[in-house]
């Protein structure tokens, strides 16, 4: 059962990240390839606090969420100045900068060696060590985030964000502020990613820069493209599907030496196929 639970836990954590990425990329149209960096900051902050014993799990998670809100707002700022491809390059730069920091700032992150021994999450002083207990925690967090995402999409705020994605000038001409809406969306996306990071660190008990690199960011993007932009169902379906894919691929007769390249190949082919034939993803709307 633990195996199935741990798949669920990871899939739920990635669902949080999928929601975060979908909000930013799918809904507002800020093409960020640095969401894994925010995810990482959340993970390291929670890890640092729990290892030092200065905060317990929930307050640490709150601090991480807060920090990621600030961070995501900060790194989304260039999108207010530069559009489209320019922002993509900036975003790539931010991701590489983050990876360099995770790898080299040994005092804060354990550097390339990673940060081992992060204590399990606790509620009111009671540590949650069983996989089932952690599953309960991640499930609650994911449900709350899904609810928030759904509420936002159906509220006028969601409509505003979707309109911003299509045409910022027209939004301004309709008398609405673009800046504050974009910043709010980036903040929310940051909070989701920060919480996901905290859950990830406490569940795995070990984190290192490899989980928060450019590949991870692109995986998140793939999840949104495959699941579908701007819908709750798409944000959930993408992560669950893509995390199951490697497990499914093991049943196909590929020599193990080729399995990783085959998997990456499948991801690439999926991106092309979806761009060409189904830009709305499986359960979403047109990108």
């Amino acid at each position: 059962m633990d195996y199935f639970y741990s798949y669920l836990i990871l899939a739920e954590i990635y669902t949080l990240l999928g929601l975060s990425t979908n909000l930013l990329v799918g809904v507002v149209g800020i093409f960020s390839v640095s969401q894994a960096a925010v995810f990482g900051v959340g993970a390291y902050i929670v890890g640092d606090f729990l290892l030092a014993g200065t905060l317990s799990f929930l307050p640490a998670l709150a601090v991480a969420a807060l920090a990621c809100i600030l961070l995501n707002v900060l790194i989304s700022l260039p999108s207010l100045r530069v559009a489209g491809d320019y922002f993509v390059v900036t975003s790539f730069g931010i991701q590489l900068l983050a990876t360099a920091t995770f790898t080299n700032w040994t005092a804060g992150t354990g550097g390339a060696n990673g940060m081992p021994g992060v204590p399990p999450p606790d509620l009111l002083g009671l540590p949650i060590e069983s996989t089932r207990g952690i599953l309960a925690v991640t499930t609650v967090a994911t449900l709350v985030a899904c609810l928030a995402f759904w509420l936002i999409l159906r509220a006028p705020f969601g409509r505003l964000l979707k309109a911003i994605r299509e045409d910022e000038s027209a939004v301004a001409a309709a008398g609405k502020g673009v800046l504050s809406a974009k910043v709010s969306a980036a903040a929310l996306a940051g909070a989701f990613a920060g919480v996901a990071g905290g859950l990830y660190a406490t569940y795995l008990s070990f984190i290192d820069p490899s989980s928060f690199d450019l590949d991870a960011s692109i995986l998140l993007l793939t999840m949104v493209v495959v699941g579908g932009a701007r819908t709750l169902a798409g944000s959930i379906f993408g992560p669950f599907l893509l995390l199951a894919l490697p497990q499914v691929l093991t049943f196909v007769a590929i020599p193990t030496t080729y399995a990783a390249t085959a998997r990456q190949l499948v991801y690439g082919a999926l991106l092309i196929a979806f761009a060409l034939f189904r830009p709305q993803g499986l359960l979403g709307e047109r990108l």
């Binding site: 059962m1 633990d2 195996y3 639970y5 741990s6 798949y7 990871l10 790898t103 080299n104 040994t106 550097g111 390339a112 060696n113 990673g114 081992p116 021994g117 060590e129 996989t131 990830y200 569940y203 795995l204 008990s205 070990f206 984190i207 290192d208 490899s210 989980s211 490697p246 093991t250 049943f251 196909v252 007769a253 590929i254 020599p255 193990t256 030496t257 080729y258 399995a259 990783a260 390249t261 998997r263």
Partner: protein, 374 residues
């Protein structure tokens, strides 16, 4: 899957054969296969090493099962891929331990091993590491055992050699990742402790093979020794070192054991530590015939680790104890010294093993000194 299916078939075939030709009346319970797990990077950038490790285990299993397994029990190993990533490793661990209740698991990389270490303690599962050398692995979990010396221990042998040969100043080129930084820290600490002086250090990125800027900067420090900890791209480095025409002694770690580099005339004079795990020519030949590849360093390491696993299993069967992680762990300290490819003694969770220092001769290499890492 196919290779797993193949090993499964092999195991079935072996047990079938045993059933027919077993010389003594096989008791059904006796002949039940004993299964262990292995979580290795079978895909991704670590796959080259991971598949080499897998072959070492598979070869040892084939040999042993052809001899009738252990005490009539065929031995099986279920392989899982973790892509050298901690989260995938935990997923695989839960699959093997949660679903299949395996008592012992092989592991290979520092990150994944450290991620699984707390779980091994919680679930009482023995974990054998014959590939990673991070210093943190030494005390990560009472259930994690390392058959390779930690980097610190290995580097210690090199430092002793350098100081004994009058080298007192050094610069360090390291790969900017777990393996490289660990090696750098150990070298700097040990070299200083031995009275040497570190004049400069420069990083390179994994996979970034233009070392010229870093090497030029290091050369400006005019040290007697260039200590190198990188896991890939050694041949390019040897060529670029040759271009620079420096007089320093280039010293490296086990990672330098790279056939294209050894074959490169430009690599002449480079020395490096080498964990001793020599296999007899007959064994090497048998391996090549069976597995279709050379028996590389990591194949030898995991072959050796599998010999340890056989010894532990045999010990428990003889004492009529259940094959559980706890019992396997206790057995390690009871047996203490193992005789696989090399003699290996466990007084702590990390084995004491011999380490050699090899020198490249521009085409091949020779051992110029030996020591012990502990």
């Amino acid at each position: 899957m196919s290779s797993r299916a193949r090993s499964l078939l092999a195991a079935l075939a072996v047990s079938a054969a045993l059933g027919i030709s077993a010389p003594r009346p096989a008791r059904a319970a006796d002949a039940a296969p004993i299964t262990f797990g292995a979580i290795l990077p079978l895909t991704g950038p670590g796959a080259v090493i991971g598949t080499e490790q897998m072959k070492g285990i598979q070869f040892a299993l084939k040999q042993q099962n052809a001899k009738g397994g252990i005490d009539g029990h065929p031995i099986r190993v279920v392989f899982e891929d973790d892509q050298a990533k901690p989260d995938q490793a935990v997923l695989a661990f839960n699959k093997l331990v949660g679903l299949q209740h395996l008592p012992m698991i092989y592991t290979a990389y520092s990150g994944p091993s450290l991620a699984m270490a707390p779980l091994t303690a919680r679930k009482h599962v023995l974990m054998l590491n014959a590939g990673a050398q991070s210093d943190k692995l030494a005390h990560a979990s009472p259930y994690l055992f390392n058959t390779l010396p930690t980097t610190a221990d290995e580097v210690g042998v090199m430092v002793k050699y350098l100081r004994a040969h009058g080298k007192s100043t050094s610069v360090v080129l390291y790969e900017n990742d777990a393996a490289g930084i660990g090696g750098r820290d150990d070298f700097v600490r040990e070299f200083k402790a031995a009275g040497g002086k570190i004049l400069a250090q420069e990083p390179t990125q994994f996979g970034q093979t233009d070392y010229r800027p870093a090497l030029l900067k290091l050369a400006a420090a005019k040290a007697q020794v260039l200590f190198v900890v990188t896991t890939a791209g050694q041949k390019s480095m040897a060529d670029q070192l040759h271009q620079m025409n420096q007089t320093w002694l280039v010293a490296g770690t086990t990672f330098m054991e790279d056939p294209p580099t050894i074959a490169d005339p430009n690599a002449k004079g480079i020395i490096h530590t080498q964990v001793v795990a020599n296999a007899s020519p007959e064994l090497m030949a048998a391996f090549k015939k069976e597995m279709g590849a050379e028996m590389g360093f990591f194949s030898r390491q995991y072959y050796n680790a599998t010999q340890i696993m056989f010894a532990l299993t045999e010990h428990l069967l003889k004492e009529h104890k259940a094959i559980t992680g706890e019992n396997l762990r206790a057995a390690i300290f009871q047996i203490k010294t193992f005789h696989g490819l090399v003699p290996m003694t466990f007084t702590t969770n990390t084995a004491v093993v011999p380490v050699a220092i090899n020198e490249m001769t521009g085409g091949s290499e020779k051992t110029i000194a030996t020591g012990t890492a502990h």
